[in-house]
């Protein structure tokens, strides 16, 4: 009696930022939920965690996480996080951002961070469109999908994000949908324990902005699509994992060991300073 009920995970969230901005049926809450579950299960030190995001609906989750956090300009989360991680390699640096932010305006930073193998962990909520600005076509919008800027159907080819990440050199690549909460949480845990650049795509429902223009009016209908189309195929060829109406290949695609950029860099610095230096 008289005791205030506290959610066991409230310590992971900034209550002052609530309520969140997300629509009902949105998958971003699921992504954030799985992320804090992974933090909890690993007993991560929140004082050594930095959450970075770009612009977009899921971009707000950096502010919602009770760690050091930074909300960058559109597309620049990875470039910003590169500076954070190199300047203090002890920090766990996680990016939560969207498909438009990471792969349209920020696409160049993504491929180069993966190529360098900088130890930052990227979780992308892929909702197939620009939700925050009202539902425009983006780099993952499916062919023929209707958006506010493809009123006659999309004619662009979407990126296959897991193929792009694998080809760019990421050491860990996985895809899940917001239906796969247990496997997604496990995947985030694995990623957080790895060295190097890691990437998880989370196919996420956006019923209010994307779904309702594409015959999936509710979050439940979008989740029904994920349930119907998802096939778990671990370590299958990411180049053949394009998302279609009929099939969403989910699972881990890449899990390799590769020395990170920051380790190479700091080893090099140590080597240089063992010998005297000419000027």
């Amino acid at each position: 009696m008289g005791q205030k009920l506290v959610h066991p995970f409230s310590k992971y969230l900034r209550s002052a930022m609530m309520p969140h901005i997300w629509c009902s049926g949105c998958g971003n809450g699921v992504v954030l939920n799985c992320f804090v579950h992974a933090l909890d299960e690993l007993q991560k030190d929140l004082d050594k965690l930095v959450v970075v995001s770009g612009i977009g609906c899921i971009g707000r989750s950096a502010g919602y996480t009770n760690a050091d956090s930074f909300h960058t300009t559109h597309g620049r989360a990875i470039a910003f996080a590169t500076g954070v991680k190199l300047a203090n390699p002890e920090l766990d640096v996680v990016i939560l951002s969207g498909d438009g932010d990471l792969f349209a305006i920020g696409g160049n930073h993504f491929i180069h961070a993966a190529r360098r193998n900088i130890g930052i962990k990227v979780i992308c909520a892929n909702n197939f469109n620009y939700g925050m600005t009202g539902g425009q076509q983006g780099p993952t919008t499916p062919p023929e999908a209707l958006t506010t800027t493809t009123p006659y159907g999309n004619i662009e080819h979407p990126f296959n994000l897991v193929h792009l990440a694998a080809a760019s050199g990421a050491t860990y690549v996985a895809r899940w949908t917001t239906l796969h909460v247990r496997r997604l949480t496990l995947s985030i845990k694995r990623m957080l324990q790895k060295e190097g650049f890691c990437f998880i795509e989370v196919v996420s429902p956006c019923p209010e902005i994307f779904g309702r223009r594409n015959k999936m009016r509710t979050g439940l209908e979008m989740m029904e699509w994920f349930r119907r189309a998802s096939v778990v195929e671990n370590f299958s060829d990411p180049s053949k994992a394009e998302i279609t109406q009929e099939k969403i290949v989910v699972g881990e695609f890449v899990n390799v060991e590769k020395v990170s950029y920051e380790r190479l860099l700091h080893e090099k610095i140590a080597q240089i300073n063992e010998k005297s230096v000419k000027w």
Partner: protein, 383 residues
């Protein structure tokens, strides 16, 4: 052979880019992110060798947008951080300069000015980015920009830029030009113990009481860094003192943006530097900066030899604009001459401050800077 991790001291023959790089190291800079561009590349090249000797980080990013973003990130991780570029890269950096302003990130951006617009003249000097330095990013804000006139000043003012950026939590711009960057001159580097460096204020409250954007009386908030246990949020959105977005509040917007402007304008007297040469009895003053100030000094000396009471106001700070210095000169002289390597940028500020005093502008584009003779001719005609 010098010992590892040793700062330079004594007299050296250096070019301006190298002097700038050494100034950064002397100031305590331990993070450089950049992208190759003429005429600033030598800063990156030099730091790629020197930074690791001090345990510092050098990284070549994929473009200038990434470079400034990484610099902001490194600064939030607690390192003094810098990037260096020229006009095209400076243009690409503008949005994130606004982010650095909004998140009050101490960092230094070196812009070695060449001829623009666009790709323009990569190997020739210009002074065409001066207004962009002040107004380049969208929105209202205060910023600091310095203009070195010599290789020695490429060293000294780089240190000064770090000190100002750390003190006021504002991106500070070193606006060099191709000549001061590529010219070789003697540089005297003081003993490390004689070099004054400044560091950002740290929070004076415990993490549970910390408001990351709550200013002290000087309008500058103390800065915690990532990993120190303060668990704070920073955003480019309009935010309150906790760093929480308040995008619908005109009160928060007004309070924040006015403070971002006023922390520079109200500290103007502490920030602004200008050199007054032979101005005591001057009838005509030249107001100049950067490499052009060297020709202007020569012109003023020649004018004095010819019996004309000329003087020079050399602007070291470009932003905030040295309006008190210019205003004082304007009250005293009959005419002000402003030579610049552009179509008229600082001259507009001089005209604004000079009010009734006639201002004569000498524009140079696409070639060598003004000769002393050219400036002397205008001094003669303006009196």
């Amino acid at each position: 052979m010098t010992k590892k991790r040793s700062l330079l001291k004594g007299a050296y023959f250096l070019n301006g880019d190298v002097a700038c790089a050494e100034g950064a190291i002397a100031a305590g800079c331990r993070f450089f992110a950049g992208y190759p561009i003429t005429p600033a590349t030598e800063i990156a090249e030099h730091l790629s060798g020197r930074m690791p000797e001090f345990g510092g980080i050098y990284i070549q990013m994929e473009d200038e947008i990434a470079s400034i973003a990484a610099v902001i990130g490194a600064s939030y991780s607690g390192l003094k951080a810098m990037t260096a570029t020229s006009g095209p890269g400076f243009s690409l950096m503008q949005e994130n300069i606004g982010l650095a302003v909004m998140t009050e990130t101490p960092c230094v951006i070196v812009d070695i000015m060449r001829g623009g617009p666009s790709t323009g003249q990569p190997t020739l000097p210009g002074q065409q980015d001066v207004m962009q330095a002040k107004w380049g990013s969208h929105g209202d804000y205060g910023i600091i920009a310095l203009a070195p006139s010599s290789v020695q000043e490429m060293f000294n003012l780089t240190i000064e830029a770090f000190n100002l950026s750390e003190t006021y939590r504002v991106p500070t711009l070193l606006m060099g030009d191709e000549i001061v960057a590529h010219m070789w001159e003697k540089v005297v580097i003081p003993l490390p113990s004689e070099i004054k460096t400044a560091n950002r204020k740290k929070p004076h409250v415990s993490p549970d009481k910390y408001e990351p954007f709550m200013p002290d009386d000087d309008l500058v908030p103390p800065m915690a860094c990532f990993g120190e246990g303060y668990r704070f949020h920073a955003t480019g959105l309009t935010h309150d003192e906790y760093g929480h977005p308040k995008t619908q509040s005109s009160e928060v917007q007004s309070r924040l943006v006015r403070r971002l402007c006023e922390k520079i304008s109200k500290n103007e007297d502490k920030i602004v530097k200008a050199e007054e040469i032979m101005l005591e009895d001057a009838d005509v003053a030249v107001v100049a900066y950067g490499i052009v100030a060297r020709a202007a000094l020569s012109a003023v000396r020649k004018a004095r030899e010819a019996g004309i009471k000329a003087g020079l106001l050399r602007l070291i700070t470009l932003w905030p604009f040295p309006q008190k210095h210019v205003g004082k000169v304007a009250k005293q002289v009959k005419a002000i001459v402003v030579p610049e390597m552009n179509c008229g940028q600082v001259v507009r500020e001089v005209e604004r401050v000079a009010k009734e005093t006639p201002v004569v502008f000498i524009s140079k584009l696409g070639e060598d800077p003004h000769t002393p003779k050219e400036i002397l001719e205008v001094i003669r005609r303006s009196i």
